[in-house]
């Protein structure tokens, strides 16, 4: 097995993944390899299946066909049922942080508790240690002074940053971002950008769904363009954004680039 | 309401409807019993129309005091305290307390033997009052909502003895012969059962008393006793 060569195992592997909702086939055989410490962006039009792909990676959506591997370990396990699958997937998910498009903060917990709940309960981290870690993370996203505030009182961007801090608190191997920066202003995008770079240096792997081409181009090591449930094209950001091979990609990007000139 | 008003309307009488043989519903749903017949006999003598209805015990007192009913002909004991609140007619029978134990009990033969025992009585009845006032820490009182419950409590061993008016228990014994027996523990008080009416209605009181005398005199009373209590029984 390839797990012997730790450093060479890709962090995430997506192999021929299919997913349907009723009659609608949303993912039609997706393949993607994400190497350790890399940042991969997924772009594509609305409804193309980006969120569904991301949710499949940590099995919030059970896929119909194909394989997903995290660090060489298979994530989807059609052979495991019930409790056995539960135990397996909970363990896996602790290594994958996810930031949702709609944030999904826990409204009954203060900001700091949102961040520290998982390390306290899942890793049995001491309350004070967790608090320190949480404050550090909140500080990193510029929200230290909102620690005791409840999510309902936060602005959109503030919520999003709390969601990022919450996902980071488990010190996962991979971070999955679903439009993680859409509610952030440029200064913060820059901030998050720096945070991500820092994480990448600490060998954090990141899979990012985004609509902000500029951000995607800036931050990522590899980019993938999806449409209608299939991968249209992938490559380095430089290549994909400046000189795409596919007509479809060009069309999509031209709209965007048109915005700025 | 006093008599004159009742004459224009109906004489409203209440009982508990769950106290055989004095008042109960038969399997056809009719409210019958000793108290009901007495009420009807009295009304006839008084020359008024009567309507007998039933209400749970804790509603009865409110019903009487609240004035929705004119009289409670419901085997009510005439006691000192109650006379503060309502008026009583002359007694229309006299009820005796009795003590009952399980068939195989032999260590309860006097009131002194109640010591340390669990004694049952029906909440709100005179037996209950007697047991509460005389317990003085010697025995534990346990109460029930009605005679059927209490007999059940006695046969299942929730209580060691029960205190109840004798007639209803005797009648119940005839009906379904549970394994219990009466013990003579000596002196237990007897209370006169009387009709209660609201205070300050002298006309009604007088009419009821004279009607009572009449039915006792002309034999109607004894006929009713024969019918419900037993041939030739004397409960005066």
């Amino acid at each position: 097995m390839s797990t012997e060569h730790q450093t060479e195992t890709p962090m995430v592997e997506i192999r021929n993944v299919h997913k349907r909702f009723g009659d609608l086939e949303v993912l039609k055989g997706i393949n993607l390899t994400v190497n350790r410490g890399k940042i991969i962006s997924v772009i594509g039009p609305s409804g193309s299946g980006k969120s569904t792909l991301l949710r499949s990676v940590n099995q919030l959506e059970v896929i119909d066909q194909g394989k997903i591997l995290l660090d060489g370990v298979q994530v989807n396990r059609p052979d495991k049922k019930g409790l056995a699958f539960e135990r397996h997937i909970n363990h896996i998910r602790q290594n994958m942080g996810m930031v949702f498009q709609h944030f999904n903060l826990f409204p009954h917990l203060s900001t700091i508790d949102n961040v520290t709940l998982a390390p306290r309960k899942l890793k049995g981290m001491d309350k004070n240690v967790a608090r320190e870690l949480g404050m550090e993370l909140l500080d990193r996203v510029g929200l230290a002074e909102k620690a005791e505030v409840f999510p309902n009182w936060l602005s959109g961007g503030q919520k999003q940053r709390v969601a990022i801090a919450r996902a980071l608190a488990m010190q996962p191997k991979v971070m999955l971002f679903d439009e993680a920066t859409s509610a952030l202003d440029p200064e913060l995008v820059d901030e998050v950008n720096r945070v991500m770079r820092g994480l990448a240096e600490e060998h954090m792997t990141m899979l990012i769904v985004t609509h902000e081409m500029g951000f995607a181009r800036d931050v990522s090591d590899w980019a993938m363009f999806m449409d209608g449930g299939v991968v249209v094209e992938e490559g380095t950001p430089d290549k994909l954004f400046s000189d795409p091979d596919q007509e479809r990609t060009r069309n999509f990007l031209s709209k965007h680039l048109g915005d700025h000139h | 309401r006093d008599l004159s008003e009742i004459r224009d309307d109906v004489f409203q009488v209440v009982n508990s409807g769950a106290y055989p043989p004095f008042s109960f519903v038969d399997t056809q749903g009719n409210l019958v019993g000793f108290d009901v017949d007495i009420a009807e006999a009295l009304a006839e003598k008084m020359g008024v129309e009567v309507n007998v209805q039933s209400s749970p015990w804790n509603g009865i007192i409110a019903a009487l005091v609240g004035g929705r009913f004119d009289a409670c002909i419901c085997s009510m004991s005439n006691t000192e305290e109650r006379r503060q609140a309502v008026d009583f007619t002359d007694p229309y029978y006299s009820a005796g307390l009795s003590v009952w134990v399980q068939g195989d009990t032999d260590d309860i033969n006097s009131i002194d033997d109640f010591s340390g025992k669990r004694i049952g009585s029906t909440l709100g009845e005179t037996g209950n009052q007697w047991a509460v006032e005389n317990a003085d820490g010697k025995w534990r009182n346990q109460t029930f909502q009605g005679l059927p419950d209490m007999m059940n409590g006695l046969t299942t061993g929730r209580i060691d003895a029960m205190i109840a008016d004798d007639v209803p228990v005797l009648v119940a014994m005839q009906e379904n012969a549970p394994d219990i027996k009466m013990v003579d523990v000596g002196d237990l008080p007897r209370w006169p059962a009387a009709i209660s009416i609201q205070k300050n209605h002298p006309e009604l009181l007088k009419a009821l008393n004279s009607a009572l005398k009449e039915i006792k005199a002309d034999g109607t009373y004894q006929d009713i006793v024969d019918k419900w209590i037993g041939e030739g029984a004397n409960i005066q």
């Binding site: 998910r93 942080g97 999904n104 899942l122 | 609240g66 006691t79 309502v86 709100g124 346990q142 299942t156």
Partner: protein, 217 residues
């Protein structure tokens, strides 16, 4: 009608003692029925059907039959085999009864907590059970507070049913006193006031809880 509250004063200590007994029962029952109701709701929503079937039957049984009958059954019906003390019968009967009611409320509020919350928690690595415990239940509980308050306020007054099996709570105490003194209205008015006193505390408690949780919705 003339009122004479003299007798009430005589029997007031007994009434207070009855109130104490009733409150004690109510406290235990509140705890039991809320925790139990939550457990029943969680099991019947989340855990597999095999377990949930008897539970649904349990809910069904306690919801469909009157409390009084349940008490009679536990007190007299089981009397042939086991003699449960009256106060325990009362606690069990009331407890299971309101457990069934509360479970029904929790079922609705648990279902109303959005799927997004469940997913967010699962994606952090919380298991099914932990998600329910840390995320779903607290939010469902917050939403259930007004209805739970309602049920518990009803329950406090239902403790009077226990007088039927001889538990000396306040209605019981008054029933005895009324049959001795024949002052029903005076006693009922005083009982109503005593209950109202308890109710004020419960409403204050509920309002406090609602205020504390208003911004946590």
């Amino acid at each position: 009608m003339e009122f004479d509250f003299g007798p009430v004063i005589t029997y007031f200590p007994t009434l207070l003692k009855g109130l104490g007994v009733g409150s004690l029962v109510a406290l235990v029952v509140a705890f039991m029925s809320i925790v139990g109701g939550l457990v029943v709701a969680v099991i019947s929503i989340y855990i597999n059907k095999v377990l949930s079937w008897p539970l649904r039957f349990f809910i069904w049984l306690f919801m469909t039959t009157p409390l009084l009958l349940q008490l009679y059954f536990l007190y007299f019906g089981l009397g042939e085999w086991i003699l449960i003390p009256a106060i325990l019968v009362g606690i069990l009967g009331l407890g299971f009864h309101y457990m069934a009611y509360n479970a029904d409320i929790f079922i609705a509020t648990i279902k109303s907590v959005s799927d997004g919350q469940y997913e967010a928690s699962r994606s952090l690595g919380f298991g099914h059970g932990a998600t329910i415990f840390y995320i779903i239940v607290p939010q469902a509980f917050i939403r259930a507070i007004p209805q739970l308050g309602n049920n518990m306020i009803l329950m406090v007054k239902d403790t009077s049913v226990l007088s039927a099996i001889g538990v000396a709570e306040v209605v019981y105490a008054s029933q005895y006193a009324i049959s001795v003194t024949f002052r029903p209205f005076e006693f009922f008015i005083v009982i109503a006031m005593l209950y109202y006193l308890i109710n004020i505390f419960m409403e204050l408690g509920q309002a406090w809880l609602e205020r504390q949780t208003a911004y946590r919705r």
